[in-house]
Symmetry: C2
Subunit: 270 residues, 2 copies
DNA sequence: CAGTGGTCTAGACCACTGG
DNA sequence: CAGTGGTCTAGACCACTGC
């Protein structure tokens, strides 16, 4: 289990052999000072990314990690604290620290901010999902740009409709890099029950870690009206999401149209 | 400067006189365990709320606070860490810890999530502001509910238009509880240059700490079209914001209409 | 009861700021 | 140079979980 202790960057040699200190390079004055706990954080991140610890599994205890990295428990703790704050890890007192997952989340749909006007939660039950299409295409230029791939590369394009209480509410198009999602088909999407991002984790080893959304108000075209069963001139929320895995690598572009007659997009500002 | 040490709740008497421990009440089994640093956090919060430390001023050093509260520096540190994470305090290494403010913010408009399509920042210069109206009215029922006041109470209603590069982009109506904002007039709003929330801080001692937004897509009515100088059937983002001071007390209801032709609402998901 | 995360302390040293 | 926040350690004890 325990791999060999990883080398830690010593910014300078000092007291207890691994204490971080500043190093004044003569080169381009980049301070480049990195605290020990940041280095530990990076090492834990590596293990997460490499798949050493699978989603929903427990990572080693703080004491174990402290021994492995040859630092104090407090330093490991601070590293884990940050990773937990970023929703990459989940701490559970008395049990351990676990790799976060999009499945078995207390709130299904971690990234979906649409809520019904009345009932507080998305407690109208899970959305009904209808996969319209799933095909392999050459990446359009805007998609290629968003996913940081070349236009010559293939992407998977999925179109689906989500309904709440049998009312079509969300029309989504999403694009995934073909390289990472070989073998994804409409059938597999239909067969899977649970969040799509959970399927990505278990079937393709791709973990969506964060996302950015650009929101606009738009009017739908005829095709969109038909799919959402709405009349023309119905204003819709256009939600363009770019989702990222580790290392800020974009892995999904998603364009959603949200019907906001009986739902609203909720956002908290701090 | 230093007030007398505040009493700390001892969940049980233990080692060093103020260590937090669980107390098993025989009453309704509420654990009611509160770590020391949470109590310290609450005390700091009190001082912020009472105005002991003004916005943009420095609070006492960690060592001073530790002495004042009779706890270790580490405990004060953890309390301040959380307050900084909630944007109530701002830490500056080598200088001190300061009370956060809506003025002199690195990004003006802390709560405004609208960005231009091209230029990354809101670097098209500050928005041009036009105060349309500022009047005192009896609180409509929905406003009263949002502000947690009675319908019989007076509220200030402000209407304004924000323009970017001379293009009207945001039409906002906002309601403020009359009790806290006595003497606010259109003239004073026009005279003040800087974020409105900064004016609230300096002139009325009201600090907006967090907010929640409900976002929808809507079509404007004739009056709104005229104010924004757009043609009918232009879809707009409807952004309804409730802003809170300390203790989660709602202090503002704001309804904005955003033109998203050349701007978008940006949101980060973690 | 052992093992895990959570809190608290005391002390040392580092990095940054400003006089 | 003194003062501030930032990092790191070592050790103690507490709260929670599950066997």
């Amino acid at each position: 289990m325990n791999t060999a202790p990883q080398p830690l960057i010593e910014n300078t040699s000092s007291a207890s052999d691994v204490v971080a200190t500043n190093v004044s390079t003569n080169a381009v004055q980049t301070p480049a000072f990195s605290p020990l706990y940041q280095q530990i954080k990076a090492l834990i991140l590596q293990s997460l990314q490499s798949g050493e610890w699978k989603p929903s599994a427990a990572i080693p205890s703080e004491m174990d990690l402290a021994a492995r990295f040859k630092v104090s428990q407090g330093t490991v703790r601070k590293a884990i604290d940050e990773l937990a704050a970023e929703n990459l890890l989940v701490r559970r007192q008395g049990k351990g620290t676990f790799v976060a997952t999009h499945a078995e989340q207390h709130v299904q749909y971690r990234f979906l901010r649409l809520f019904p006007d009345d009932g507080d939660l998305q407690s109208e039950g899970p959305a009904q999902r209808q996969i319209i299409d799933c095909k392999r295409v050459r990446a359009p230029s805007d998609v290629a740009k968003a996913l940081a791939i070349r236009q010559t590369e293939a992407v998977l394009q999925v179109r689906r409709v989500l309904s709440f209480a049998a009312i079509p509410t969300i029309l989504e198009d999403l694009w995934l890099p073909g390289a990472q999602f070989k073998g994804l088909t409409a059938e597999r999407l239909r067969a899977y029950h649970g969040p799509m991002y959970a399927l990505f984790e278990t079937e393709f080893g791709v973990r969506m870690v964060r996302a950015e959304e650009k929101i606009r108000a738009v009017l739908p075209d005829e095709e969109q009206c038909a799919l959402l069963k709405i009349k023309a001139q119905t204003p819709l929320l256009s939600v363009e999401r770019t989702a990222y895995t580790y290392n800020d690598a974009p892995m999904e572009l998603r364009r959603g149209l949200y019907l906001t007659d009986t739902h609203y997009y909720r956002n908290a500002l701090n």
